[in-house]
């Protein structure tokens, strides 16, 4: 029957569309198979990848479930066990004894009811850590992405058009000197200074990191561009008649994307830590916004390390796990993005005795 339908169908857009769709599907399937092979050959990357997927999906659920629930069942639904700032009043207490003093406190150790325990106000730590996830992740990704875009484009310009004694060369020098000025300050100190000037809040903190983060990408990208620019294949492209802009897009960006992506992935973690540090020092996001660095700072000032270490460990652990996940993924990406090692990995992972098709071309 299906065969009949195909036979009677004119060679119209529908059959073409189907053809395209099947070709896309086979493409996807072979791509997926290659991906799995690479992951199997490189287990740590797989671990990093799974962690990142889990972290991102939790963040997405935390953000999207309440409005979806509101729309579907009329009230917000959440995967958080409790509200991030909800505390029972009066809270269930336990008695803590330090030295000669005994006093009641709302901090409860981890239990089935509160998987990560509660803090000094009786708030559920698991809920708090999860509620902070979207914000921290967005900061890690978005701030780093902006820094990479800004610094990366400046680095491209500075690296590619660096002929001395021309206007372009002068622009390139100007970019580099500006970068040097920013790099002369320790980035954390500069970020702290900017954040302190702009005042407490999420946006000022984000701005502060953005303003201090781009120079690293200028340096990174410029260095890579200088290497790629002098590769014979760039000269070959010029000899073919490609314009500068097309060489830049076709060869230069393609070849510097790998180190930049890897650096970016690793940097997501660093930005996260910096953001948390700014909050930790007390000039970042306001206290009522759940944020990991903020939590570590707050619980530390409440002297909870001694009597309720789970509070600080939960927030600090969240930072640690997230940064670790991205670092593992970033390391693995380095291998995956290079076509040379990509093939090698994929072949190494296949238990086969067939020789690699490297001898092709020897006709």
């Amino acid at each position: 029957m299906a065969g009949d339908a195909r036979a009677t169908q004119p060679a119209g857009w529908l059959s073409r569309k189907r053809k395209w769709l099947t070709s896309q599907l086979t493409h996807l399937r072979s791509g997926l198979r290659g991906f799995l092979r690479i992951m199997r050959a490189n287990p740590l990357t797989l671990v990093g990848f799974v962690m990142v997927v889990l972290i991102v999906s939790v963040a997405v659920l935390v953000v999207l479930l309440p409005p979806i629930g509101q729309a579907l069942v009329g009230h917000p639904v959440s995967i958080l066990p409790y509200g991030p700032n909800y505390y029972p009043s009066p809270c269930p207490t336990r008695i803590v004894t330090t030295g000669n003093y005994s006093y009641p406190t709302c901090t409860l150790p981890p239990s089935t009811e509160h998987l990560l325990g509660t803090d000094n106000l009786g708030r559920d730590m698991l809920s708090r850590v999860m509620a902070a996830l979207p914000l921290d992740l967005a900061i890690g990704f978005v701030v780093t992405a902006f820094a990479a875009l800004l610094g990366g484009s400046l680095g491209l310009v500075a690296g590619y058009w660096n002929q001395p004694r021309t206007i372009k060369g002068a622009i390139s020098v100007a970019i580099l000197r500006l970068t040097d000025i920013f790099l002369a300050f320790p980035s954390l100190v500069l970020a702290l200074a900017i954040a302190a000037t702009l005042g407490r809040g999420t946006l000022p903190t984000v701005l502060a990191i953005l303003l201090t983060w781009w120079p690293y990408y200028v340096r990174l990208v410029r260095g890579e561009v200088l290497v790629v620019k002098h590769q014979p294949y760039v000269t070959a492209a010029k000899a073919a008649g490609l314009s500068d802009l097309r060489i830049l897009i076709r060869h230069v960006i393609r070849n510097i994307l790998e180190p930049v992506t890897v650096y970016y992935t690793l940097d997501v973690g660093t930005v996260l830590v910096t953001f948390s540090t700014i909050s930790f020092i007390g000039i970042g996001v306001p206290l009522d916004v759940p944020e990991w660095g903020n939590m570590v700072e707050y619980y530390q000032t409440q002297n909870l390390m001694g009597i309720a270490p789970w509070t600080i460990l939960a927030a600090g652990g969240a930072i640690f796990v997230t940064v670790l996940a991205f670092s593992l993924l970033g390391d693995g990406l380095r291998d995956v993005l290079d076509p040379r090692s990509r093939r090698a990995l994929a072949q190494a992972a296949v238990p086969t005795t067939v020789a690699a098709p490297a001898a092709l071309g020897e006709a």
Partner: protein, 360 residues
């Protein structure tokens, strides 16, 4: 329409050196490397010109000048009668379809992140509006002519051997059917067997498509095999130009003789017994007046140090141009006899010697 495809006249390329601050302040003249200094040569349509010389003699620079990867400091290059020496921008880019280059390094000149069809199809992309499938089709057509399977369109360059990569570079140069292909050491990275394959392919392709070649190489055997004419370069200047058999078998210029005598010969008895020139290759920064070879030439006379010899043709050897003041005296001495120390020459022959002995 002129007779020649390429007609270079007095082509010069100087690379200025970076000045130190004190030099700039004391208004010293900017020094430069005279990589190519007043070279004039022609390449005919469908002709292969071999360009030989030692490292640093400016062979590659000259090739890049003719392919306009460098802009000449002075002099003109006519291509099909049109002056291309100072083309820029769009005009230069569209002119490039007529001249393609095969680079020395078959690994580096292929972008490791691109597939075969993207690499070989790049000139099409640069010169024409073509869709992906058109480019793929045309690349698929050209691959067999360099001896690569059509099915390798989606491979990466690292999946090829050295010879395979050089063929890819060749295919990229061929795909637009250019008038001239500049081959910059196309075989230096390859082993002898693959060299032979590539050279055979070059000759076959020339017969098929009728390109002109500019073959830049150290490899005299390759020149002998591929080229119609050969030009010998020394320190940015041409020493000798002529038909390949004539120059290689009866070199006239002392430098050509030395270069050819330095070739290894698979004959045990001849080891050690070679014509040698002593001394170092002088620097290309502000070279002295006179003959460039004067410092090392065993036949040097005072005139060589003051007056620069121009390329001239000998009465009895048309087509063979030599830049040497004393060629009439030295020219006939076969390199084999120039062994060890420079031989003592007869004082001054009253007559110009005849053509080199026919049995050689």
């Amino acid at each position: 329409m002129t007779e020649f495809l390429v007609e270079a006249t007095g082509v010069t390329k100087h690379f200025p050196l970076t000045q130190s601050l004190t030099e700039t302040l004391s208004r010293q003249e900017r020094r430069s490397i005279h990589a190519v200094d007043g070279v004039s040569l022609t390449i005919g349509r469908g002709e292969s010109l071999g360009l030989i010389g030692e490292s640093g003699s400016g062979k590659t620079t000259l090739g890049w000048l003719i392919a306009r990867l460098f802009e000449p400091t002075s002099g003109t290059i006519l291509f099909e009668g049109r002056d291309i020496s100072h083309l820029t921008g769009r005009e230069l880019r569209s002119w490039r379809r007529k001249v393609q280059v095969v680079f020395q390094d078959p690994v580096g000149s292929l972008d490791p992140r691109m597939r075969v069809w993207q690499i070989v199809g790049e000139p099409i992309l640069a010169q024409e509006k073509a869709t992906k499938s058109e480019i793929r089709a045309r690349v698929g057509e050209i691959l067999p002519s360099v001896g690569l399977p059509t099915g390798s369109l989606d491979l990466y360059p690292h999946e090829f051997s050295g010879g395979g990569r050089q063929r890819l570079a060749l295919a990229r140069a061929l795909i637009l059917r250019p008038k001239l292909i500049v081959l910059d050491e196309p075989t230096s990275a390859l082993d002898v067997a693959v060299q032979a394959q590539v050279l055979n392919r070059l000759v076959a392709l020339q017969e098929e498509f009728g390109f002109s070649y500019l073959l830049i190489t150290h490899n005299v055997a390759a020149v002998r095999y591929v080229a119609d004419r050969v030009a010998v370069m020394y320190l940015g200047k041409l020493a000798e130009v002529g038909p390949v058999r004539q120059v290689l078998e009866h070199p006239l210029h002392p430098y050509t003789k030395a270069l050819l005598a330095a070739l290894p010969v698979p004959e045990v008895r001849r080891r050690g017994a070679r014509y040698r020139v002593s001394g170092e290759v002088p620097t290309l920064i502000s070279p002295p007046p006179g003959c460039r070879f004067a410092g090392r030439c065993p036949f040097v006379i005072d005139r060589c140090r003051t007056e620069e010899p121009l390329l001239r043709v000998l009465a009895n050897l048309p087509d063979q141009w030599v830049a040497c003041h004393r060629v009439e005296e030295i020219g006939v001495i076969p390199p084999d006899e120039l062994i060890g120390e420079a031989p003592v020459l007869p004082d001054r022959p009253s007559t110009m010697p005849a053509t080199p002995s026919p049995e050689r």
